[in-house]
């Protein structure tokens, strides 16, 4: 025990991250949200791996619209499919779209914004004018057009992949069909991230440690990657977290309109749109997915807000 004491530094100091963690822990809503998201994540991604949950696509026309019971914890839907299974598998897709599309948009936005901010001058104003123009375009309109366009090529890709690995046909069909959505949402949703990244680079560029790196004669690439990028992590994480719920919502909107995830795949958007058809006779089919979906978005938004207050105290509005 005494050994431990000697090995420990006297004062560990407070890094940005430990300070942020302390601030985040004080934010009750953010902590509750984190727990809720953790539970939803485990339920959606880990539970279906064990065979307790029935297949979400097995139809049983003798058992449609069953109320919740021992066999069907949340009852069955209009085709006799287990609602709990559909909810969990649908959650996988919805969350996956949110996370993957956010990753795509963060990568594009970060690189674009960092280059614009670092280059400055005419390059910067040209690049940001392009962002301004893209901002003026209706997001949902373009996502719909873009995803329809890529989905044709995705079908070819699916066929090619299934021809190569026929054993994994189900898995391939499930995920390759989602690729157009990932790309369309991510490729059009990076604008805010680009603005955030640019602003961040512009303010970092003027600081002494970057000037020191420049006077040492380091290459632009090295300055950007080693000295500027690591210092941008805070705001980037914050805006990424705030982007996820928006993209999950976009997926649900598209699927609700019949332009997103295609059945028999389920997603929360599909469950909501199917549930809306039976809202008068079987409100359960609408209300259960609604609660799950809204709770997830609420938790993501609260967590994003909490992270912003914790990591980026200057941007906090109170």
């Amino acid at each position: 025990m005494s050994k431990d004491i000697h090995n420990q530094p006297i004062d560990k100091g407070h890094s940005l991250w430990s300070d942020a963690w302390l601030r985040l822990r004080k934010n009750k809503m953010a902590m509750v949200s984190m727990v809720i998201l953790f539970i939803i994540g485990i339920l959606c991604f880990i539970l279906p791996a064990f065979s307790i949950i029935p297949d979400p696509n097995t139809q049983d026309l003798n058992n449609t619209f069953l109320p919740p019971s021992g066999d069907y914890p949340l009852g069955t839907d209009q085709s006799g499919r287990d609602l709990l299974a559909r909810l969990l598998y649908g959650g996988q897709i919805s969350l996956l779209v949110g996370i993957v599309a956010t990753t795509v948009s963060v990568i594009i936005g970060l690189i674009y914004g960092a280059i614009a901010g670092y280059a400055g001058g005419k390059t910067d104003s040209l690049m940001m004018r392009i962002v301004d123009i893209l901002y003026g375009l209706p997001f949902l309109v373009l996502v719909i057009l873009f995803s329809l366009l890529i989905s044709e090529h995705a079908k070819e890709l699916t066929d090619a992949l299934i021809g190569r690995w026929p054993d994994h046909a189900v898995f391939i069909k499930k995920f390759v069909n989602l690729v157009p959505l990932f790309i369309a949402i991510g490729a059009l949703g990076w604008l805010t991230m680009a603005r955030v990244a640019r602003a961040q680079v512009m303010s970092l560029k003027k600081q002494e440690f970057v000037e020191a790196a420049v006077s040492l004669g380091l290459s632009h690439r090295r300055i950007l990657m080693r000295h500027i990028m690591p210092n941008m992590l805070g705001p980037v994480i914050v805006y990424a977290t705030l982007t996820v719920p928006g993209f999950v919502l976009t997926e649900a909107t598209l699927s609700f309109l019949g332009l997103g995830v295609e059945s028999p795949n389920s997603s929360w958007g599909i469950l909501l749109s199917e549930g809306a058809n039976y809202m008068e006779t079987h409100p359960r089919l609408l209300i259960i997915p609604s609660i799950t979906f809204s709770l997830t978005l609420l938790a993501l938004n609260f967590l994003g807000d909490g992270l912003r207050d914790a990591l980026d105290p200057k941007a906090a509005k109170d």
Binding site: M29, I133, G136, P138, L257, L259, P283, L286, L297, K317
Partner: protein, 303 residues
């Protein structure tokens, strides 16, 4: 000021042109065409139809022909609906506009007072509960609220209909659904803006001079605190008009939303282009209007 407006208008034309170009290319890159739908015609009829809409020409030629149409103030005919696009838009736009205006009014009436109240009672239970409700309003999508309102509320209140667009009472539920999310955003933005102003020296001075607290708020604080909210209202209004197609579908409002979705599905090139031009123009003007109002309210931006 006038110079800024003119340069912004020119920039707006560029935005709408880019939007048109992108839409024009994307719809033509998509598989299928307006005549490949359910109505399977003989090959020679399809050829004739394509020739009628210049679809047999190259994309560049088509674009030039289309620009010529626009220059004459026309939007072309819809190959699927066999009607002039301008006529379809004239018949459906009023409903979307009314819905958007009603939604915006509801959003302003709920959002701004809630935000001001929240800021004045900072860190009280009123503040916390308002902000939690606002977050819920942002998180719960309209296509969850809309069916619940239609199925659970409208069926229980005798004078409300589940769907339809006959008399102004029918506007209430769709407008409420549309306005709630915007109200929630407005509440959060107004609160942030008010809090910033309430910490300023001139507010403290006014209090120190013994000005009545109510007058300090109404005469001094709100004028500055509401600026971020107004900056948001312009673009939000355009979003309400262009983004209401889900609500229009659920409540069966005869607006533009259905045309937009169907035109995308049917590859109705001309209708889609017409709708996109209208949407883009609306967004440009809404942003411009917001900037002009902001410049009038805040002398520092005016320059």
């Amino acid at each position: 000021m006038i110079r800024t407006v003119i340069s912004r208008l020119l920039q707006g034309i560029v935005v709408v042109f880019c939007l048109l170009l992108i839409t024009f290319m994307l719809v033509r890159l998509m598989p299928g065409d307006p005549f490949s739908g359910e109505k399977a015609h003989a090959a020679h009829i399809i050829e004739k139809n394509k020739a009628r809409f210049h679809l047999d020409k190259s994309n560049t030629e088509q674009f030039i022909v289309y620009l010529g149409l626009l220059a004459r103030g026309e939007l072309g005919d819809s190959p699927v609906k066999e009607q002039p696009v301008s006529k379809i838009i004239r018949h459906s736009f009023p409903a979307s506009l009314v819905l958007g205006i009603a939604g915006m009014i509801i959003a302003i009436l709920i959002g701004i007072p809630a935000g001001i109240l929240s800021a004045l009672k900072k860190n009280s239970y009123i503040d916390y509960s308002t902000m939690v409700i606002a977050m819920a309003g942002i998180s719960i999508p309209s296509f969850v609220i809309a069916p619940l309102l239609a199925g659970q509320v409208a069926t229980r209140i005798p004078f409300l209909k589940v769907a339809g667009w006959g008399d102004p009472l029918d506007w209430l539920l769709p407008a409420l659904t549309l306005g709630l999310a915007t109200a929630a955003y407005l509440a959060r933005i107004t609160r942030g803006g008010m809090l910033e102003v309430l910490n300023q020296d001139y507010i403290r001075t006014a209090h120190a001079k013994g000005v009545h607290p109510a007058v300090v708020v109404t005469k001094h604080a709100i004028r500055g605190g509401i600026i971020p909210a107004i900056a948001y209202i312009g673009p939000a209004f355009a979003m309400l008009i262009t983004g209401s197609f889900i609500i229009e579908t659920i409540f069966q409002v005869p607006g533009m939303g259905q045309h937009f979705v169907n035109a995308t599905k049917d590859r109705d090139y001309f209708l889609l282009q017409g709708v996109v031009i209208l949407f883009g123009t609306l967004i440009v003007f809404a942003n411009l209007a917001a900037d002009i109002v902001l410049a009038m309210l805040n002398p520092r931006i005016r320059a």
